[in-house]
């Protein structure tokens, strides 16, 4: 994990002092509402429906057990004893007091955390693959690169007032688990025939009101130039992105208006001046970044233990279910990554209580070298569990209610806070997720459906990534009433696609029934092992439409 040196620490400490000063000036009336707004946003502070909301950065999803405990303590002390993991690897507090925020930030700084640039029209928290460093399909560990980008983008003096927010995602594996095609900039690390590291740079993807898949700006950027090239990409956007209309201000609109060729031409022209400048990365700089992510001190797990694990799996059906759904293969034989499900009916998707945070931290210490990762699916991963400990871990998770063996199924809903918390919402989202989870509870049915992403957003802003759900649900407002629009066929992974709207929207209470009809069509029409997405792609939207609106 990345550990701060005195420079990093000084910077976050000075940031706290700066924000304390800004807050004091605001409360004393020397800083106007409009002028305070971007300052607080760039420290993660929103003014929400019921209370302020504070969004804490979890850079590329990595947390230590110590940090997690500190977060738990903060939610107890300053909030209502729980937090919400968002789809962007952040933690959101829903009930802090405005005037407490500088103190919260100071406590975060003590455990090398911050809320810098988690909101506002600036470069946001860089997101990545939750299985970074352990995935068997990994070509290059994206975390050192994410950290280099984090540092480059943190308090970047030129890019604090971009036309709109700017999100970067990085993957270094064959399978894209970071949804790089729907980010302002998506980066894919790969190696050419000569085994040289290259970066594929995409720009102009995004969700929100006008969802788009990113275009390729550069296929094979040599790694040395990553930061200068990013600087060129953002500089062109800063100069030419629209500022007259908030809804047309994202880079995707610029890329579309110019065309990718022209955007690329401008970036390359800009880059020609920046190339080989002081931000050019060196072998030593990258090695230094890599040294923060060493292999944990894994003890060897012998063949016998692996055989024994398989035997337990055969014997215990419940354990087997858990392993099939929540356990992921690891690059190192004898080790597994375990996904803790934060999805159960009693809680909003992604919510964790302070007690759960403590419990997860303890489990991380016992089973996985004291580290956890948070995922954009709003779950938590223990990345390095030896197989001979799996069953014990599962038992503990069962007791804690985090062993829901439904990761990747219809039950594993991605959902934004929606109208219960968010002042921008058109409609509630959490109760819709809960109604669906309630209706489709039967595990055998869920497993039979296979992998299925159902994503819910409470408005166009698409924090719940509804465009890229195999099934997407969007809250819409019609004459002051809450309705829900359903779309099908979205996908966030390699062959990314955006969902198509099924038709006129529905009342909230009808949504589970509509989903049921959609699933019926799939079950009737699927061939062999076909997953929902593939059936949809083969038969198109029509049969679904006919059934739902019959």
């Amino acid at each position: 994990m990345y550990r701060y040196d005195t420079y990093d620490q000084t910077l976050v400490d000075e940031r706290v002092t700066q924000f304390r000063d800004q807050m004091e000036r605001y409360l004393a009336g020397r800083l106007g509402e409009d002028e305070f707004r971007p300052l607080r946003l760039q420290n993660g502070l929103y003014i929400q429906k019921h209370a302020p909301m504070l969004r804490i950065a979890i850079p590329y999803g990595m947390l230590s057990s110590r940090q997690l405990r500190a977060l738990g303590a903060i939610t107890r002390r300053y909030d209502r004893g729980y937090g919400h993991f968002s789809t962007r690897q952040n933690l959101q507090l829903n009930w802090p007091k405005l005037e407490d925020v500088p103190d919260i930030l100071a406590e975060l700084a003590q455990v090398q955390m911050h809320a810098i640039q988690t909101s506002g029209n600036c470069i946001r928290n860089t997101t990545s693959d939750q299985f970074a460093g352990i995935a068997s399909d990994e070509i290059e560990d994206p975390r050192p690169w994410c950290e280099l980008i984090r540092q480059w983008s943190t308090l970047h003096p030129e890019f604090a007032y971009l036309p709109r927010k700017f999100k970067i995602a990085v993957t270094g594996a064959d399978a894209d688990r970071a949804a790089i095609q729907v980010h302002d900039i998506g980066l894919r690390l790969w190696r050419n025939e000569r085994n040289e590291l290259r970066v594929k740079v995409l720009a102009g993807g995004g969700m929100g009101r006008t969802p788009m898949i990113g275009d390729v700006v550069r296929e094979d950027l040599p790694w040395q130039h990553l930061l200068t090239y990013l600087e060129a990409c953002v500089r062109v956007y800063n100069q030419f992105g629209r500022r007259d209309n908030k809804f047309k201000a994202r880079i995707k609109i610029l890329v579309k208006a110019l065309g990718i060729e022209e955007y690329r031409r401008r970036v390359e022209e800009e880059w020609a001046h920046l190339k080989d400048g002081p931000q050019t990365l060196t072998e030593e700089a990258v090695e230094a970044a890599r040294s923060h992510f060493p292999e944990p001190d894994r003890r060897p797990v012998d063949e016998q233990a692996i055989i024994e694990h398989e035997r337990l799996r055969q014997e215990n059906r419940n354990f087997a279910r858990f392993v099939t759904n929540n356990v992921t293969d690891h690059r190192v034989p004898g080790y597994k990554a375990v996904t803790l499900s934060l999805k159960r009916r009693e809680h909003a998707p992604g919510n964790v209580t302070a007690d759960q945070m403590d419990a997860i931290a303890d489990l991380a210490d016992t089973y996985s070298f004291g580290e956890v990762r948070v995922t954009h699916e709003q779950n938590v991963v223990l990345s390095d569990v030896p197989v001979d400990q799996l069953e014990a871990l599962w038992q503990e998770l069962e007791t804690l209610g985090m062993a829901n063996p439904t990761v990747g199924t219809l039950n594993d809903i991605i959902c934004c806070p929606g109208g219960d918390y968010c002042s921008l919402a058109n409609a509630v989202a959490i109760p819709v997720a809960q109604a669906i989870q309630e209706r489709f509870e039967d595990l055998d049915f869920l497993y039979d459906l296979g992998p299925l992403d159902l994503n819910i957003s409470g408005c166009m802003n698409a924090c719940g990534h509804h465009h890229v759900g195999h099934i997407g649900i969007l809250g819409v407002d019609k004459k002051g009433e809450e309705y829900y629009q359903v779309s099908l066929g979205g996908n966030a992974t390699d062959d990314a696609s955006l969902g198509k709207i099924l038709g006129p929207s529905f009342y909230r209470e009808d949504v589970p029934e509509v989903i049921d009809k959609v699933l019926q069509v799939y079950v009737e029409q699927r061939q062999d092992e076909e997953i929902f997405l593939d059936t949809y792609r083969r038969i198109g939207i029509k049969p679904f439409k006919e059934r739902v609106y019959a």
């Binding site: 002028e35 971007p38 540092q151 943190t154 003096p157 030129e158 604090a160 500022r243």
Partner: protein, 169 residues
């Protein structure tokens, strides 16, 4: 009459120190003021480019081509306008002027110039900051020194922190 609409910064910070402003600013596009020294819209400045007491201000949407930069090279001062503090184009303009075109004269931020923008502005090459009317000078001077460390190189530091760390290791 353009002269009747001239303004002077109430608080000007130059090279980190408060200073009395000697320049007047005209935002009027049709008609050259008679007062000197004066900062005028870029459009008007071209005809007075040879005068040492006339300087241009650039609107934030200026496209800084190499031709324009060449013309600006002789200006005694270049002001960059912030029509709203949320318009971040001026930061790029200042960096380009300094880093790409090696402009050595004063670069002055005018318009919606607020306390909490000053640190970034100074990193991007602004050495004169004409604060908006209502800003407090003491807040501004404090804000300029908000951070003692930066990750990225800019006009003020030419070395990224990652390189400095390696050098010091």
């Amino acid at each position: 009459m353009p002269d009747s609409q001239l303004t002077k910064a109430r608080s000007l910070i130059k090279l980190g120190q408060p200073e009395q402003d000697t320049w007047s600013l005209s935002r009027v596009e049709d008609g050259m003021p008679t007062s000197r020294p004066v900062i005028v819209p870029l459009k008007l400045w071209f005809d007075h480019a040879s005068e040492a007491d006339v300087a241009p201000w650039l609107p934030s949407n200026t496209e800084l081509t190499s031709e324009l930069a060449e013309q600006l090279a002789t200006a005694p001062l270049v002001a960059i306008d912030f029509p709203a503090f949320t318009d971040g184009r001026g930061y790029t303009l200042a960096r380009l002027l300094r880093e790409r075109y090696q402009y050595r004269g004063e670069i002055r931020a005018i318009g919606d110039v607020l306390v909490d923008q000053l640190f970034y502005m100074s990193r991007c090459g602004f050495d004169a900051l004409a604060l908006r009317e209502d800003q407090h000078l003491d807040d501004a001077l404090r804000a300029l020194g908000a951070f003692s460390v930066s990750y990225q190189p800019a006009v003020d530091i030419n070395e990224p922190l990652f390189a400095r760390r390696l050098r010091e290791a």
